[in-house]
């Protein structure tokens, strides 16, 4: 099958790639662009490990085709820190031990950042429902929820 030529922006950089029409955005990010931060936990939209934003909207990159990225702005976990400076969420995740194995962490950070951009003062219930699409098998979510709530409080104070 002939490949499609796609031009898009990932974490602010313009990128071009050729992909099979059947390849997902997640396949493209991981296998063609070498951005392995987004993980494939299921490939069916059920685990959230592949979470990225497309034009600011949170999506499962396993459910979107690579070809659909044409002209879009994609943001992945690799773009959250600015240079060596971690985002407040990243710092809190380490401080709270909001990760054990860390396979869910990229997706959860992308999702949580997206939440805080829209809702700077979320309730615990809002955080729990927003992250309900991001499975974590290790932590029982307790420390994740606390880390997100505390980051939100800290970011509100700082702004």
């Amino acid at each position: 099958m002939s490949k499609l030529h796609v031009t898009t922006k990932v974490n602010g950089d313009t990128v071009e790639f050729l992909c099979d029409p059947r390849e997902t955005l997640l396949d493209v990010l991981r296998d063609r662009l070498g951005l392995t931060g987004a993980k494939e936990g299921c490939g069916t939209g059920d685990c959230g490990a592949c979470s990225v934003t497309v034009d600011g909207r949170l999506v499962c990159s396993c459910l979107m085709l690579g070809a659909e990225a044409e002209g879009k702005e994609i943001a992945t976990v690799e773009g959250i820190a600015e240079g060596g400076a971690l985002h407040p969420l990243q710092k809190k995740f380490i401080e709270y031990a909001a990760l054990q194995c860390g396979i869910c962490t990229p997706g959860i950070l992308v999702a949580a950042k997206n939440l805080l951009e829209k809702t700077p003062d979320p309730t615990e219930e809002q955080v729990r429902y927003w992250l309900a699409g991001n499975l974590c098998r290790c932590t029982g979510y307790d420390k994740i929820i606390r880390a997100v709530m505390d980051t939100a409080a800290e970011m509100r104070e700082a702004s």
Binding site: T36, C42, A97, L99, R128, Y141
Partner: protein
């Protein structure tokens, strides 16, 4: 004189909560997990799997697949070693079927191609002709006369005469005279319990990247809990010399026991050997469910006798576990853990390991123990209800403690069950008021913990920093714990120590990260390796000062003369000694290798409040408290994390998770949509209490903590739900339909 840094108090680093060393990589996406590796010229592989529960393989035709664009190799059973016996044969048979497909999802062939999509297309083009055979997936049905025989001659010598050939192992233990004990009871309750198979549910599917040349030398990268085991098994299955295969453990995205065995690694290596190119193989989520380690499902009968004052007079349990199409269901652990929390004069437990047409079970966090606790602690709860006794006081009255005899034989050393019960009783949760529709449950749980073969190596750098090489994959923050223990002995800051998981070519043999053994055994070895380095550091100081070695001691990262008689010398800091080590005798290292035997057992007590919606049958866990003995919590935040994670998995097991098989023997719910693990909005915060009753078998008193946390939840939640619903729940999971049925039959009865 060997240095001994044993202590249970006065820690400087152990017990603190520093950032983990791999934190930065894991929050930035840099950490490399199983599927994140690539190699030049890499091929992608896919596995062809049986759609049938039980079928003879008549013919495999790979011609069409091999003719496809980009396809480089196909393998079947013929490409693996022959003449294997014992567990190696079982593993090979599971990795790639021989004559017969034994379960839905059993691998029958594999293909490697230049892209993942072409590998998948080619896999579909492999033609397999089957003769479908009768199947059985239920443990009780598999034991009935006339049930299809999964394999003849699989039973070992433990199995009594006259049982169905699907019963392959048998266990019996206990002491006293249970019938005499039951005769002393004021109330005897006997009940039947059933649990379904669940999956460990790690979010990272099995993944590996293997290269194997015609010269018999190979490299393998994979997500595993034990890469020396992968090395050993792959070498056997491929007919290699073990040392010629170097295995590197990637970051691991969860395992919980399910990554203690091999599934795809030998297949990737076999394809690589044939194609002469590196091969990457990653399971899909459906493959993870169908062909990697679920737990056993169980059918259990438990009978317990009690006096009106709460004394247990006798206990008996029969535990039937199916472990899929291969021997190994952990029924002896189920039997041995069942009554472990209690000091019993008369106790008997029996276990059956039964074959069915399901995937080979793999360890799942305290394998076998949670189901036992579900049955036993439910009966104790019912006895307490009927006799109007407090459930914690009753457990305290019967609790195992130092010097009493375990239900499975040995005398207990120092253990912390009583302390967890007392802490649970004192916790505000235990006496907090319940809202209407809510019920409270408690349960105890027990796990053995394990030591196992362990090697650790520590090397000093010239600037006084240290690196530690351990061989137990870090499945929950263990590198932080190792660095803390080394810091404690060396007396240098935690940040000055880097802990790495060594590959199989860089360190001696290490058993798998299982049995909650890492912080215990690798921790003990780290302490001993650091002690060896400290001894050498002291020797260098002694030589410099010209005094005997035993006149020098180590404190706060410095060598010091041990008293006025030793001489008047300024403390010599570690960095000054290491700066000149090349000239004073060479590199300063420490290493330790042994099979430590002193793993301390761990007990826990959980308290749960659950709310049942009588209209929909759905259950919500509204409050949860874990109390567990950690011996000594090296990094308390990660200990809490283990407690919370085990509780959450237990909540899933109790309420939602189950393998559902159709009449055709096919798995109906091989995905996270239909196999529902708890999501963030399902759970409350999970409160934790760390009890510390030091383990005499570890220099700092550490006990393993990873597994015990999943032992009490099934029972604690069942007790809470039973209280809330007003009807005893005897089958897991307690999904809404099951609760509605129970409510209906209670109303009818």
């Amino acid at each position: 004189m060997a240095l001994d840094s044993s202590k249970t108090t006065g820690f400087k680093y152990v017990g603190t909560r520093p950032d983990r060393p791999d934190g930065f990589d894991k929050v930035t996406g840099r950490a490399k997990f199983g599927a994140d590796a690539t190699a030049p010229g890499m091929l992608f592989a896919a596995i062809k799997r049986s759609p049938h529960a039980h079928a003879r393989i008549l013919r495999i035709d790979t011609t069409k697949a091999l003719a496809m664009e980009g396809v480089k190799a196909v393998v079947t059973r013929a490409d693996f070693a022959t003449g294997l016996t014992g567990e190696n044969w079982n593993i090979l048979e599971n990795v790639m079927a021989g004559d017969t497909a034994l379960y839905d999802g059993h691998a029958v062939a594999a293909v490697a191609a230049t892209s993942a999509l072409s590998a998948r297309d080619a896999m579909k083009a492999i033609e397999v002709e089957y003769e479908i055979l009768p199947h059985v997936t239920d443990v009780d049905k598999a034991m009935e006369p006339g049930a299809p025989v999964i394999r003849t001659g699989a039973a070992d010598a433990s199995v009594p005469e006259g049982l169905h050939p699907n019963v392959v192992r048998y266990h019996k233990s206990g002491h006293g005279d249970v019938e005499a004990g039951f005769a002393e009871a004021d109330l005897v309750i006997e009940d039947h319990f059933v649990t379904e198979a669940t999956h460990q549910g790690y979010i990272e599917p099995h993944a590996c990247l293997g290269t194997l040349g015609a010269d018999g030398k190979g490299e393998l990268w994979c997500c595993t809990q034990g890469h020396w085991n992968v090395q050993k098994v792959c070498a056997a299955l491929l007919g290699l010399e073990t040392s010629q295969l170097r295995v590197t453990a990637s970051e691991i995205g969860g395992g919980f026991g399910g990554k203690t065995t091999v599934f795809i690694e030998p297949v990737a290596l076999a394809l690589s050997r044939k194609a002469n190119r590196p091969v990457k193989l990653v399971m899909t989520r459906a493959e993870v469910f169908k062909a990697s380690g679920p737990t056993s499902s169980t059918s259990m009968d438990v009978r317990i006798g009690m006096k009106t004052d709460g004394t247990i007079t006798a206990a008996e349990g029969v535990f039937r576990l199916q472990g899929g199409a291969f021997p190994g269901a952990p029924m002896e652990f189920t039997a041995m853990c069942a009554f472990a929390p209690y000091d019993l004069k008369h106790v008997r437990q029996v276990g059956y390991d039964v074959l069915t047409n399901r995937p080979k079970q793999a360890a799942y966090r305290a394998p076998g123990s949670p189901m036992a606790a579900f049955a036993v602690e439910s009966v104790i709860d019912e006895l307490c209800k009927k006799l109007d006794l407090d459930p914690i006081d009753t457990r305290l009255k019967n609790a195992s403690h130092e010097g009493t005899r375990a239900s499975f034989g040995p005398k207990w050393p120092r253990i912390g069950l009583v302390e967890t019960l007392e802490a649970a009783k004192a916790h505000p949760h235990y006496t907090a008021p319940l809202a209407p529709g809510q019920g409270r449950g408690i349960s105890c749980g027990f796990w053995f913990n394990h030591g196992g073969e362990t090697s650790v190596s520590l090397a000093m750098s010239e600037d006084g920093s240290a690196q530690i090489m351990v061989g137990t994959p870090d499945i929950g923050g263990s590198r932080a714990s190792m660095a803390l223990m080394a810091a404690e002995v060396l007396g240098i800051p935690y940040e000055n120590i880097r802990c790495t998981i060594a590959d199989t070519a860089s360190l001696g043999y290490n058993e798998i990260s299982h049995g909650s053994r890492v912080t215990y055994a690798s921790g003990l070895a780290t302490i001993k390796a650091a002690e060896a380095a400290v001894e050498e550091l002291c020797a260098r100081a002694a030589a410099k000062w010209g005094i005997p070695e035993d006149a020098v001691y180590w404190e706060d990262g410095c060598a010091k003369p041990s008293g006025p008689n030793a001489g008047d010398f300024e403390p010599l800091p570690i960095a000054e000694i290491t700066a000149t080590m090349g000239a004073t005798g060479g590199p300063i290292n420490g290493h330790f290798e042994a099979t430590p035997e002193g793993a301390g057992v761990s007990f826990a007590t959980h308290i749960v409040d659950a709310e049942v919606d009588r209209e929909t049958g759905s259950t919500k866990v509204v409050r949860y408290t874990v109390v567990q003995d950690a011996g000594k919590a090296v990094h308390p935040t990660y200990v809490e994390g283990q407690f919370q994670g085990g509780a959450a998995q237990g909540i899933g097991w109790a309420l939602n998770e189950e393998y559902i098989y159709g009449e055709d023997g096919r798995l109906q719910n091989a995905g996270f949509l239909d196999y529902r693990i708890p999501v963030a909005s399902d759970l409350p915060m999970i409160d934790t209490v760390i009890v510390e009753v030091p383990n005499p078998g570890h220099p700092f008193g550490v006990r393993g903590v990873g597994e015990t946390s999943i032992c009490p939840p099934l029972a604690a939640i069942a007790n809470a739900v039973s209280a809330a619903a007003g009807v005893r729940m005897r089958q897991l999971p307690m999904r809404p339909s099951r609760i509605l049925e129970a409510l209906d039959s209670a109303a009818d009865g």
